[in-house]
Amino acid sequence: MPHDAVGNDVLGMAECFQSAGCPTTIFAQWIHPAREYCARRIDLESKAAWRCPEDILIYHHALNWELGEELLANTRTKVVIKYHNVTPPGYYASYSDYLFQACRDGVEATGRIARHARAWFWADSGFSAEELVRMGAPAERCRVVAPCHRIEEELAQAPLDNVVLGRYRTGASILFVGGLRPHKGHRKAIEVYARYCSLSDRESRLLLVGGSDPNLKRYEDDLRAHAVRLGVDRRVDFAMGVTPAQLRSFYLAASVFLCVSEHEGFCVPLIESMFFRLPIVAWATTAVRETCAGAGMVYEDFQAARLAESIDECVENAVLARDLAERGRLRYERLFRPAAIRGRLRELLAEVEESG
């Protein structure tokens, strides 16, 4: 799917290996019309793609996928599992039986896949790699590589949206980008924002930007009710299903990126913020800690008051904000720019090719 982190990683990897002279094909069971130009439907019957022991099958795992596991069981190729992390199902227990079950199935699938006899495991983060090892993957065959992204090719090239810029460029805009899902910490973000409003007189807004899911209407309603309870409902904006132009404009207009997500396998919006030189204030959960590492004001434990004070510091202290923005951009340039990620991927591919 376009604008999807896993989809971007698949595409980015294919482009990387193709450009390195390695013929690459993307196979999928369901292909979005916008991506039909670059992917083929899986045909298990032909088996040609799964026979050659010198080929490498890179399996992107983020959900339970029966056909995929059948493929893994029958392939004669070398195998790499790219693990994108599965959200713990508990987050969905109160909101969607369907998603709860999907995540539970996904976690069980991870347990099975982690015990694949001869696979290499590439994880988006050290946090995800540790999870794989706990589930049975051999630590000596686990590697970490950041996911490919399209920040520079698509997001940075998108035109500006003057409506977004005009609305949010003045005052303090606190931004969070992430799908409207219970593990993303929107509730906590609203709480932090309410604290910020109580200690600052500055005109401000909390921008919650991301995709919505019809299965999670109750979650969205709960968030709105929470904002009403805290008295900030008129200052919290939900922007769902934004275009790349709008997203780019949100990053440029915002003052601070706030991340209090409870569970992340990597968190691409953090590196988007780094690219756009947006100061980051974050709670160091799961993979957020290592993705950010020094590129923002990142705290080990969640305390709304502390995070609110940090936002206030970033908004009021221009020197600090500039410094954080530059740290973020430098971290992006060092670790997350496409060339860096591609270099790492080529190293890992060479390792797999040389292995038995």
């Binding site: 003045t170 805009s173 030189r277 020094g294 004070e309 940090s310 970033c314 221009a318 430098l330 270099g343």
Partner: protein, 179 residues
């Protein structure tokens, strides 16, 4: 007013500075130029922690005063309501359910009679059960609403106390320096 964080968007990036925790994600082949950072972010974060702690103890004091203003009788009433609800939750499933059957002939004959009577009351027991469930649901909703009202009352009182304190200190300040 322009967002202060975005003023330097056009300037060239500074060279990389030394940071703890970076580099856990291999992916770079560039060498780094080391320069001292212009802002000690850790010091800023220490200041933030200190201020947040001070505000927390101020807020805790305000909350304590706010709790005293909200009637203890209200808190007691809510607590009793919760206990009644717990009793109702335990007793609701028992209505219409067959009683425990001892393993005797008399017990088994009694169980058969109870089953016959239950069957005969097909028009009575299910509506009674669903009516009880509805009443329990309504009471629980009422309890939730009451606790939210009590919490809102405490918050309101806390804000009032904070406003009075702020107003008093401003007045004090203006009395000390009338010019």
């Amino acid at each position: 007013m322009e967002n202060p964080a975005r003023l330097s968007r056009g300037t060239a990036a500074r060279a990389c500075e030394s940071e703890c925790g970076m580099g856990s994600m291999p992916g770079s082949t560039d060498s780094e130029r080391q320069e001292a950072p212009s802002v000690d972010v850790q010091a800023v974060m220490r200041g933030v922690r200190l201020r947040a702690r001070e505000r927390r103890s101020e807020n805790a004091e305000i909350r304590r005063l706010a709790e005293q203003v909200v009637s203890p009788a209200l808190a007691l009433a809510l607590s009793r309501l919760d206990a009644h609800l717990e009793d109702l939750r335990r007793s609701a499933p028992v209505v219409g359910a067959p009683p425990p059957t001892p393993r005797t002939l008399r017990g088994r004959m009694g169980a058969v009679m109870v089953a016959v009577v239950r069957r005969a009351l097909f028009w009575f027991i299910p509506p009674l059960e669903s009516s009880q469930a509805a009443m329990l649901g309504a009471l629980e909703a009422q309890y939730r609403a009451s606790t939210e009202i009590a919490a809102a009352l405490r918050d309101l009182n806390a804000k009032l106390i904070a406003l009075r304190a702020a107003s008093a200190s401003r007045q004090e300040g203006s009395e000390r320096s009338p010019e």
